[in-house]
Symmetry: C2
Subunit: 227 residues, 2 copies
DNA sequence: AAATGTATAATTGTCAACAATCATACTGTT
DNA sequence: AACAGTATGATTGTTGACAATTATACATTT
């Protein structure tokens, strides 16, 4: 052999998986706003793929809740509703409290280091006014906790939420040209996460999520005024 | 018009949806045991459908976690692991506690009636030794709570868990020829659910789930002994 | 005999044509 | 003019054929 073929390892090997990734990114980044109709023939030619794999990708994303499909009628980027945002934040609160209860007794050096590193990355992104990066790094910070729980079901559930959360952050950022978290919003979070007071951590999560909700609340009122 | 055409309302109108339903049922009822390889050509001819819709159905079920798909290799009914069962029960505890916190202040007559009715159905199924029906009715009982929360995200998450839970119950029943819940196991549950003591209800859920886990624990040890 | 390489068969991935359904614009009727 | 009915076009659903990949069995080499 001449060279190692790393493609199977580094790249998604099926067109379907590529399409899922690309579509998900496009939605999350706001390139395909909520409500956009996704016409199969257009999308398939745009992505250079036939309709077969595209349709399979659509099934996956529909199951993830990022798009809505109505048989014989069409596929649409999932609409944002006030209820959906509220539900996301209340559910996320429960999920993350559960995550901390699980992770608390098995926190180790790796957990400490990753959390600290991720906080630095987030701070840097905020300071640099790198809005898109800021959204990503904030989600990555919370992801550290879920990753260390050793609870696959919780992890999967979090991943499903993460996509929609990312979308809300992006839309909010686009609408107001300012990103979500303020500079010190996560300092106390990490401090408590590495401390000894679990009840205090759980309380802070409730508070943290409410603050997060406050920030996207302007998005909520805009949606409400559209009716 | 001669007669109302109710087909579009009562029936899934796409082959894909039919296949999803049929495959899900077959897995949940234990007709396709965990680990079974699902060969597309075989399944499609068995179901009288071409491979297109079948593959789309596979994407949906894979996203729901009922089957595992390895590109270019094959699709398998998801294997049961000890970890998966433990995770399911711990996660379910959190989920149902959240559900009761949500529903508590908005319980009404409909909630009361449905819960009572469902308890009767469950009791009848148990008394009649209707094992398959018993599994269904027990899940339906818990479903009443989720239905009344008005929280779609929670509801969706519960539905995803429900399939796997149903499968575990079925496998346990098949292995030991006895069904899960004992005759009075849900009496206290419903009594507390209709009462005034939320903390007591939450505590009972923890206990209830632990009892449920005890019942399928024999399934766990069997799986473990297979290694 | 064990390990390596190769050919074959089985299976999955992809595609393009065809059928079924829906939405729109148009026509005709009251 | 408003409404119902109809025809047309666009879009989704379905199918069978073809390409790419993998796994198995077999042959070859050490």
């Amino acid at each position: 052999m001449t060279v190692l073929n790393l493609k199977p390892i580094l790249k998604n090997r099926t067109l379907r998986a590529d399409v899922v990734e690309k579509l998900k990114d496009a939605i999350i980044r706001g390139d395909l706003p909520p409500g956009t109709k996704l016409v199969e023939s257009q999308l398939s030619s745009l992505l250079g793929v036939s309709r077969g794999p595209l349709r399979e990708a659509i099934r996956q994303l529909a199951e993830q809740g990022l798009i809505d499909n109505i048989p014989y009628t069409g596929t649409y980027v999932a609409n944002i509703t006030v209820q959906a945002i509220r539900e996301l934040y209340s559910f996320r609160t429960e999920l993350e409290q559960f995550a901390f209860k699980l992770v608390w007794e098995q926190r180790d050096d790796a957990f400490h280091d990753e959390l600290t590193l991720q906080l630095e990355k987030l701070s840097l992104a905020i300071k640099s006014d790198a809005h898109i990066a800021t959204i990503f790094e904030e989600l990555e910070l919370h992801n550290v906790v879920y990753k260390h729980c050793g609870h696959e079901l919780l992890q999967d559930t979090w991943q499903r939420l993460r996509g929609r959360l990312h979308l809300y952050f992006t839309l909010h950022q686009k609408a107001h040209n300012r990103t979500g978290p303020y500079i010190n919003a996560h300092d106390k979070y990490v401090e408590l996460a590495l401390g000894d007071d679990l009840p205090a951590m759980l309380d802070h999560i409730t508070e943290h999520m409410q603050q997060g909700y406050q920030k996207v609340e302007s998005l909520v009122s805009e949606i409400e005024s559209q009716n």
